[in-house]
């Protein structure tokens, strides 16, 4: 390792916490295997993005302040296994609280030491080979907020390339939205569903038996769609793959 980082904090995100605990454990495993101490502030909840995206900014601010307080108890870098929640904390907290006399500076401070998981591995630690192994053909779906918000263009691909036994398949329209969009998937479900069908068609056409991404939100959406189709294609967070050794 090329940095002097010894300890990190995990912000696991509400969806991983409640729906995909194994993914959270995989992230911890990987970070610990790299010799890092992982802190997990138990008071953490949700970053508030659903409220922010729905336009309920006062509510979002309250949640942002709460999360900042939780994360400010340690100086360690904050790792988030989600491009979307990462984008929220890294970019939108700063904007939302720009005029808050007490929180503008802490929001900025939290922002500068927050990293999406793959970004942290590749860009900060300089690690791409985690000695992982897997079997199967994998297609990568680039979630929008990670891709366009945080610039996660190459990091996940570089990590996946090093996984022994994994055959990468080109996913047509890999960088196109899956139609999730948070509450959009419920409020405008017919449009969301139509966009999803295109993504699913592409996934099936890719010849992969597994779809991997960096955001369980989109993956949950894709998995739900594949299951409705009766497809046997697996859906996994990148940490789930990288953990296998």
């Amino acid at each position: 390792m090329t940095t002097d980082i010894k300890t990190v904090q995990l912000f696991v995100t509400c969806l991983i916490d409640k729906f995909f605990p194994e993914t959270g454990l995989a992230v911890v495993d990987i970070l610990e295997a790299l010799g890092l101490t992982v802190e997990f502030p138990l008071a953490q909840t949700c970053c508030g993005q659903p409220a922010f995206n729905a336009g309920f900014w006062d509510d979002a601010r309250a949640m942002a302040r709460y999360t900042i307080d939780v994360l400010a108890q340690s100086d360690a870098p904050i790792i988030i296994p989600s491009g979307s929640c990462g984008d929220m904390i890294i970019h939108h907290y700063v904007d939302l609280l720009a005029n808050d006399p007490h929180y503008a500076a802490p929001a900025q401070a939290v922002s500068t030491r927050t990293y999406e998981f793959t970004q942290f591995l590749v860009d900060v630690l300089g690690v791409t080979d985690l000695h992982s192994t897997a079997t199967g053909c994998v297609a990568y779906h680039a979630s929008c907020h990670g891709l366009r918000g945080l610039g996660l263009k190459t990091q996940p691909h570089r990590l996946l390339k090093q996984v022994a036994g994994l055959e990468p398949k080109e996913l047509p329209g890999s960088e196109e939205c899956c139609g999730f969009g948070g509450l959009f998937a419920v409020k405008m479900s017919q449009i969301s569903g139509a966009i999803l069908q295109r993504k699913l068609d592409n996934i099936e056409a890719s010849g992969a038996d597994m779809v991997v991404g960096t955001d369980v939100s989109c993956l949950m959406h894709i998995a739900g769609g594949l299951r409705r189709r009766g497809s046997a294609i697996n859906v996994k967070h990148i940490a789930d793959i990288l953990r296998e050794r």
């Binding site: 696991v12 991983i16 916490d17 409640k18 729906f19 995909f20 605990p21 194994e22 454990l25 997990f40 138990l42 008071a43 953490q44 909840t45 949700c46 508030g48 659903p50 409220a51 922010f52 995206n53 729905a54 336009g55 309920f56 900014w57 509510d59 309250a62 949640m63 709460y66 929008c144 907020h145 891709l147 366009r148 918000g149 939205c177 139609g179 999730f180 969009g181 948070g182 509450l183 959009f184 998937a185 419920v186 409020k187 405008m188 479900s189 017919q190 449009i191 969301s192 569903g193 139509a194 966009i195 999803l196 295109r198 949950m220 959406h221 998995a223 739900g224 769609g225 299951r227 409705r228």
Partner: protein
Amino acid sequence: MAVSNVTFYERVEEALHDRQLQTALDISTTRFTTGRQNALAALPEAEALRDHARRIRAHTIAHLDRYLAQFADSVERVGGQVHWAETAAEANQIVAELALSRNVKNVVKSKSMVSEELHLNQTLEANGMKVVETDLGEYIAQLAGEKPSHIIAPVIHKTRQDVADLFRRKLQATDADLADVPHMTALARRVLRSEFLQADMGISGANFAVAETGSICLVTNEGNGRLTTTTPRLHVALLGMERLVPTLEDLGVMLQILARSATGQKTSVYTNIITGPRRTTAGQPIEPDGPDELHIVIIDNGRSQILGSELAEILYCIRCGACLNACPVYQQIGGHAYNSVYQGPVGSVVTPGLYGLDPWHELPQASTLCGACREVCPVRINIPRMLLKLRSETAEAGLNPDWLKRGLRLYRQTVVRPGWYHLGGQLTSWLSRKIADNGWFKKLPGPLSGWTDHRDFLAPAKKSFSQRWREEREQ
């Protein structure tokens, strides 16, 4: 702006079930997006050029008062006349009075989005004039009594059979006329050509106006923009007040990226730059042709409202349509669902900006916030930021459905109280695992049913990550 009784959701349903529209959208948006990508990839230093174009637009809008004044002076210097319209009604009145005072009977129009904002055709027709759209797509839409469904491809929603039927009904076309698309096009050319020869007034929009020279620039592929501004003795150009660039050199920058972003063409076939009416000496024309009078109507119609707000950045827009083609929502629902002149991502900002959130507040919600629009926008407009801003204004105005307001209130109270949050989580998990089928739901109740209409929903895990961490690590 007229609002139909059909809701946004109904229009969406209709669009999603229109097979022809779906095919047309697939073909056109794919062709335009790949065309755009290739064209920009082949343009030397395209990214730097986009940055530069953005700086030009930002600077211009920030000094719009100055540049508009300069533009008007320049137009008058070359013999054109400038009119100022704050509202649609004023603009319509200006054009109608011009037409009436000059005994205009026949009007030809080349594509102008502003004129659609104004509903100018109705005004002129009410004054006894014949108004003909001359862009082939717009002409077809006009014959069919429909609105254009795409900024640059107005009738992508129609098949050639639809058009053939329409020509048969409205133009008494014969089988020979309708043999194939070139024949149909030739028929339209003949019909429209006679309109051009008889027209007293030509009405155009403007892609850009140049402050330093008083020029307006119109780009078309068909040439109707040139005919509209050449054959009639009177040319009226409608100019949205934000369409300025300071210098001719700046116009060059914009033209390098406009067509490439719009259709993937390196250039449109005709880039038509008009500076004043045909030149005269001592009252006698010295140029062989061109209009004897040029009137430019500078139109606000809600734009200054946008200018004085957080949405002002949308005024950088050069109306290329790239954000429509790249938008996953537009790709599914097409233009008509927006029910507005301005569609897709740019429309979802402009429409509520011009006319207010009520009843347009659904438009900013019709987005996944994926950011594709911002990525392809030649002048890098941060559309998602403004959609979010409009959503926050919608929430402040209380325009959201009750279930959402109640749900979010509960959610907020829970999130800032970890005790409630985890207890609530455990309860939901316990309850849902009782009723879920193999860990998944096929159907959710109430507003959440939207999700399960299209995909299964995963039940929460038995034990959350926090629980496991606490149990495994924190003894």
